[in-house]
Amino acid sequence: MMRRATLLLFVAALAGVAPGAARAGGDGGRGLAIAREADRRDSGFGNVTAHMTMVLRNRQGDESTRRMRFSAIEMENDGDRNLIVFDSPRDIRGTGLLTHTHKSGSDDQWLYLPALKRVKRIAASNKSGPFVGSEFAYEDMTSQEVEKYTYAYLRDEACGARACFVVERRPVDRRSGYGREVVWIDRDTYRFERIDYYDRRDDLMKTLVFSGYRLYLGRFWRARLLEMRNLQNGKSTRLTFEDYKFRTGLSPADFTRARLKRLN
């Protein structure tokens, strides 16, 4: 089912910045500066666990559900490590997906198949494929590191009751399924409020809306609900996060291949 994956998330840190890696657009570097500030504000969370529920909805309104346990840890001088373990659907229960994201180069990724007790390394180059059949692509689930895009500041605009920066970002990786993304970022908190995804033909493909934000540890904003609508195929996926716990004593050793093999 999920032979490859990259992982989480808007949740996960928008990991550290390699200065100069991201290029400024023709906006005097303002878009990049906004992205860096959003990233800076989200650094230092340590580690986190949460429960995730994805409800997939097709054009006819039929729904199907996936439940997952999520954990992540910030690494010094490297991208985050994260682990997703499936609780449902039942045929994939216990399946674990471990990702070591890197600031440069390919991520490392392993899949644990409980029926065979087998850990398989998987190719982490698939960016645009759907994550477990949902409208979230693998690249939407990855930690959105600053240096993975180039930026251009577009305008300020009201977003709901708030005021937002509107920034365009273009994926650096040619394997991305997107030509560009337009991101609404809250001016006060630097939270992401909405992302419009455009495909390689520059047609609007998907819209992601973040809601139910709460503040943790006095610093870290986390959305409880992410709603992804695919405007081209009429499907949508609602991703809910519950029971966030920060700094729960996890260590990098809890995110290794050896530990993945011991998942229960």
């Binding site: 190719a123 139910g212 943790y216 004593g249 809890d254 229960n264």
Partner: protein
């Protein structure tokens, strides 16, 4: 005299500590009362996880000062934590204490790890199991409650589960400390506590039932065989963990009832083991399953478990292996040791069954090299680590070969029996997998002594993935593996027969990436010397949330008549299996 009073002091401290630990109704009501005071709010969830108690003090101000001293002395360990200071009233005898605690931790191991790290620095502490009822007040000064955003849906469940902290400038303000008379706040009690009751473990029962139809479109090949038939498999599973996830027990049973073949009707304990998870080690005792390897078409180095061959000729189904295994995690890799005191014989089809040798394997007459037969203790060691894009494993096994060779023995009434013979072997192996962009590289090799001449076998290949193939959401994987085994090179070989001596596997994996997780894997193994071919296709998709349908078909042809597997020729089958998960 001094000795005695010191002893009583320690004893008293112990009693106090025990009293402080005990879940006390009075304590709870006292804290609730305290919590209703200004500037404090209930954070029920904080008390639910595993925590570490650093000390207990007589006053809040002293407790705060104690926290600042500890956090200042050990910023690397403690800087990330917001301490909880918990007021507890232990009645007129003991009086009021303020416990200094941090957490919650992910599990007991994480809490113990913190406590051990603190212990190494001379800081006494102990681990607090989750409680169902307690309140924690913030050590920071009075702060407004929940900083919920306007758009956050108001939900009582939410505010109970999450621990909102005040927005904006996070740094813990240093509240004015009430001038404490003592220069250094002395904790009242940090002695080892009497363990307080942890929550009762709750087990999880699950599993599946899977009826299966196997269709053999061609006639029986040998006398006594039956054709198309039904069977049903049941796999109940039980899992329970306790000790904050440090210990668990898992049991997985398996049973199949087959319409025709009495040998395919069988029972097995796939898993029945206790596990202890340490910080950097793991111990398992009982029946378990262990997989080693990288290839898709053959599992050359996978040797711990016996193959449950009647389940599927692909050899991927395994019997539970009784063992004691210990894993040690170090920076330079993970080392695993296995002691296996009992051996399971390979399962083979009976006289009524298909996919068998002309004379059915007489499993009841199995012969062993080891005098202790199936009770010969087998040993294995494996080292594995990840290095950049590579995962590497090295292993050695000594004990009874999982693969038997076959001997013909005269029957008393005339004719022959085919008897499996299990030799004692030494096998050394290496396995390797690497990921490079869209490419996965795989390699396995092993060398073995014990069947006569030393044998050597190796296999290597790749899987290349095209994502979004045909302008769709589907992925297509192209697989190629080359397999070599020298055991058939000389005609007098006494090694167990192998299908994969000079073979090429080519395969196609098709993943639709749809809601139902539909997937197809088709492949053919061809012997480039003899021309023998084995074709297989496996497909599956989910049906709703709790069921899955699987289709499998295999054909075998062009095996030369002198090949051990020639009896498989044209014994093709199609199998449909419906699994229901409970």
């Amino acid at each position: 005299m001094a000795g005695i009073s010191r002893f009583t002091a320690v004893l008293a401290a112990g009693v106090v500590a025990a009293a402080l630990m005990a879940p006390d109704v009075r304590a709870a009501s006292a804290t609730t009362r305290a919590a209703s005071g200004a500037g404090e709010w209930r954070v029920a969830v904080a008390a639910r996880g595993w925590r570490v108690q650093l000390a207990a003090y007589r006053s809040r101000a002293v407790a705060l000062a104690g926290w600042r001293r500890l956090a200042g002395a050990h910023p690397d360990l403690l800087a990330a934590f917001e301490p909880g200071i918990e007021r507890v009233d232990l009645g007129t005898q003991m009086g009021v204490f303020f416990r200094l605690r941090i957490g919650p931790f992910a599990d007991a191991r994480a809490a113990r790890r913190m406590c051990r790290a603190l212990g190494d620095r001379g800081v006494d502490c102990f681990v607090i199991p989750p409680e169902t009822e307690a309140s924690v007040s913030s050590p920071t000064e009075p702060a407004p409650p929940p900083a919920t955003e306007a758009e956050a849906p108001p939900s009582s469940e939410t505010s109970a589960v999450e621990a909102p902290t005040p927005p904006a400038p996070a740094p813990v303000p240093a509240p004015p400390v009430v001038a404490a008379p003592e220069p250094e706040p002395a904790p009242v009690a940090t002695a080892e506590p009497a363990p307080s009751p942890a929550p009762a473990p709750r087990g999880r029962f699950s599993g599946f039932v899977a009826p299966e139809l196997r269709i053999f479109p061609r006639d029986e090949k040998f006398a006594g065989q039956e054709g198309t038939g039904l069977s049903v498999a049941v796999q109940p599973e039980y899992f329970v963990e306790w000790d904050g996830g440090a210990q668990n027990f898992a049991a997985t049973g398996f049973a199949r009832l087959d319409q025709h073949d009495g040998r395919r009707t069988h029972l097995d304990l796939r898993e029945f083991r206790w596990e202890y998870l340490g910080d950097d080690w793991m111990l398992r005792v009982g029946a378990d399953k262990v997989f080693w390897g990288a290839l898709e078409s053959e599992h050359l180095v996978d040797i711990i478990n016996q193959t449950d061959l009647v389940e599927d000729p692909d050899g991927e189904d395994k019997l539970g292996q009784p063992m004691v295994s210990l894993a040690l995690d170090r920076d330079w890799g993970t080392t695993e040791l296995f002691v296996m005191p009992y051996f399971h014989e390979r399962t083979f089809a009976g006289a009524e069954g298909r996919l068998r040798t002309p004379i059915p394997v007489d499993v009841a007459a199995a012969e062993y090299e080891a005098g202790a037969e199936r009770y010969h203790p087998d040993l294995a060691i494996r080292w594995a680590r990840s290095m950049g894009p590579w995962d590497i494993g090295l292993a050695h096994f000594y004990g009874t070969s999982r693969e038997p060779r076959f001997l013909t023995r005269a029957k008393s009434g005339g004719g022959f029996r085919l008897v499996p013979r299990y030799d004692l072997i030494n096998q050394t192996s290496v396995d390797l997998q690497g990921a490079f962009g869209d490419w996965l590289l795989k390699f396995e090799a092993m060398t073995r002594t014990g069947h006569g001449e030393r044998i050597f076998a190796a296999g290597g290949g790749f899987e290349y993935t095209i994502t979004g193939a045909f302008d769709s959401q589907a992925d297509v994987g192209l697989l190629l593996e080359v397999l070599y085994d020298d055991r058939n090179d000389d005609n007098g070989s006494t090694a167990p027969p192998t299908l994969f001596d000079n073979d090429v596997f080519t395969g196609l994996r098709f993943s639709l990436n749809d809601v139902d997780g539909s997937e197809v894997l088709a492949g053919v193994v061809t012997d480039w010397r003899s021309g023998a071919r084995a074709f297989s296709i496996e497909a599956s998709r989910r049906l709703g949330e709790q069921a899955k349908i699987g289709l499998e078909a295999r054909t075998f042809d062009a095996f030369p008549s002198n090949d051990f597997f020639s009896s498989l020729n044209r014994d093709d089958y199609i199998q449909i299996e419906l699994s229901y998960y409970f």
